[in-house]
Symmetry: C2
Subunit: 424 residues, 2 copies
Amino acid sequence: MSEQTHLNTTEERVAAGAAADPWYSLYADRTLGMKQSEVRSLFSVVNRPEVVSLAGGMPNIAGLPLDFLAELHARMVRDRGAKVLQYGSGQGELPMREMICDVMRPDGIEADPENIVVTTGSQQALDLISQILVNPGDVILAEAPSYVGALGTFRAYEADVRHVEMDRDGLVPEKLEEMIATVRAEGKPIKFLYTIPNFHNPGGMCLSEERRPQIVEICRREHVLIVEDNPYGLLGFDGDPATAMRTLNPEGVVYLGSFSKTFAPGYRIGWALCPTEFTRRLVLANESATLCPTTFGQFAVASYLQEYDWYQQVKEYREVYHARGQAIQEALEEYLPELEWTKPTGGFYTWVKLPEGINAKDMLERAVANGVAYVSGTAFYADGKTGADHVRLSFCYPTPEDIKEGVRRLAKTIGEEKELLGLA
Amino acid sequence: MSEQTHLNTTEERVAAGAAADPWYSLYADRTLGMKQSEVRSLFSVVNRPEVVSLAGGMPNIAGLPLDFLAELHARMVRDRGAKVLQYGSGQGELPMREMICDVMRPDGIEADPENIVVTTGSQQALDLISQILVNPGDVILAEAPSYVGALGTFRAYEADVRHVEMDRDGLVPEKLEEMIATVRAEGKPIKFLYTIPNFHNPGGMCLSEERRPQIVEICRREHVLIVEDNPYGLLGFDGDPATAMRTLNPEGVVYLGSFSKTFAPGYRIGWALCPTEFTRRLVLANESATLCPTTFGQFAVASYLQEYDWYQQVKEYREVYHARGQAIQEALEEYLPELEWTKPTGGFYTWVKLPEGINAKDMLERAVANGVAYVSGTAFYADGKTGADHVRLSFCYPTPEDIKEGVRRLAKTIGEEKELLGLA
């Protein structure tokens, strides 16, 4: 782990930075708040072969049709090289945006390619939306807990993130209303609600069908823009995607999608489906950030979607993750039956509540020594402190056998930690 | 051109925006300053087949070895698909960073891959460097004129850009010293000097060998970081690249490179070679913006560099641009001998001074009606007003015959404009 994770106060970091870095005094205010995420810090540990990683969110792409893709790439370069290797549009290439409309159709979305902006992964869409909307100190509403990568980006724009409670059915409408009222009473502007309604990262749960119109209606009434992040929506174990909130109020929702989980992350192609006027802002921000997203990657993904039965590939991914989701469920039942966790019904994650008195962050070193890695719940709260009573376990990448062994090691670690703390 | 270019004051834009866009009141302060660049606004015009475009900066990639590349891509996907299609490192893949060291060697740079950060084009490096360094109102020094894409990004971070005079030998050291003193007297922080020393965009000139150590020394003394942007350095018509300023003070210069002009822009792969401690900041900002640059694109570019005689390809590009640079030089001598322009010795551009009294922005509509497009000099100044006495002509993309015809049409347009204004 980097030295940074041990330096908690701004003062400590200023002192450490100033000593080592001649340019430290020139950094912008926002830079001092940026730190390595707990997830990223784990990467070196996670890559050790003896450690079972239940930490990372890498998709399992072993099942991709590589021979087909090899031929497709070769043909694309040979026949359309001068186009696919050239600069493109800041909004994204039209064939890509048209195919994105197809990909959103299972969610019930009927979109116009004119309202789509292609970005360098949906992470960049999050970054640019924050750039467009957030002045330092502005409020962003997010679930409690929320996606670590979004929180890092919000921090870079010096947002004041307020977490809103979830239960098994996802974000709680009454809690959302309460939080909006609280923030409004403070006189602070609310810039948007950031939400992951399907197979939440890290929570694992889905927003119920009943609550979707309720959340949309609250936000419409309160003039709060919704940023609906949906990387996992197609990856429910039993198929049928839920109703996208975007369908309930197209001019009130920015919908984010990504090919990183349903196809492959290596091209870095994501998108935002925007309210009409917002689209133009996002295109300008996109051009300012990168001129245009990768033309090559866009044509590769668009050609794959056009020429391959991509929905069949999605179904195969579902089976891969279903088997792994079942494995972690069974392992938790076997080795840690006394704990509570989100029963996986899709996506990549389950959120596990630790026994009273155990701190996920403190326990991590012991877990890694025992050969298993997880992400401490603290990574998923803006303050970096809340959430120490939970861990996020990812079941997307390891084999079912490794998942079982990983959970066994986690149980052993928890047992040791309880004993050490006199909790046994 | 977009409606935006006709709305000059913030008040006008607020009024127009608020009427059309329900989310307008939520935009961050920085967003109100972002507007479509004059170059981007021209895109629709430029693509009309009857117009000779001397406006765009699209590289001429017709000469790329597409059969070789097709086979290389196919092999890469077939043999290493699970790696090249997966997420990668926020700093960029090591094989890519190692090959980037090779590509900088002709500039005299001996770099450590540890100090390189791969970005989504060098545009994104500019964006992230601004994010790391610039608080609203901070000063960035840039040449007069400067690259339109950089100015747009600096505007997004609400920087106060101060232009420093150039002559035929590039940035004038005494003028740089004067500007630093002026800004310091105002009590404003200077965050960096942004400079394009080789085949300047839009100026066309090179910073002389004599001045390079002078500029570096002034910045070292004044503790001003240098951002050395070098997309065209290898594309001098007579070979031999100039001394990179980076070599003169490695801890004082962030050097930006790109494969967009020396190979192909479609992958969106650029890089920053950083002072040691700055590297870590840039990696964090990169992760926050996009998680990682495209793994696929990096492996494609790295494989090309490893397996192809890339420097021979650079030499072929030089010949392509040399022929076009000569064509524009000859056409200007033939049709507009009374004007002054930068004699092209490399790169993509020449900077032409118009006859006294002619306004490049006002003349553009007539030029397009006459079948030629250029970029008004006003695009290359932060205030959007200075520079109306110049046009940038790009000679990179059209054929030599089209270039000649384009300049003939420009001469006709200038003649008509002079007559109309009573200047003839």
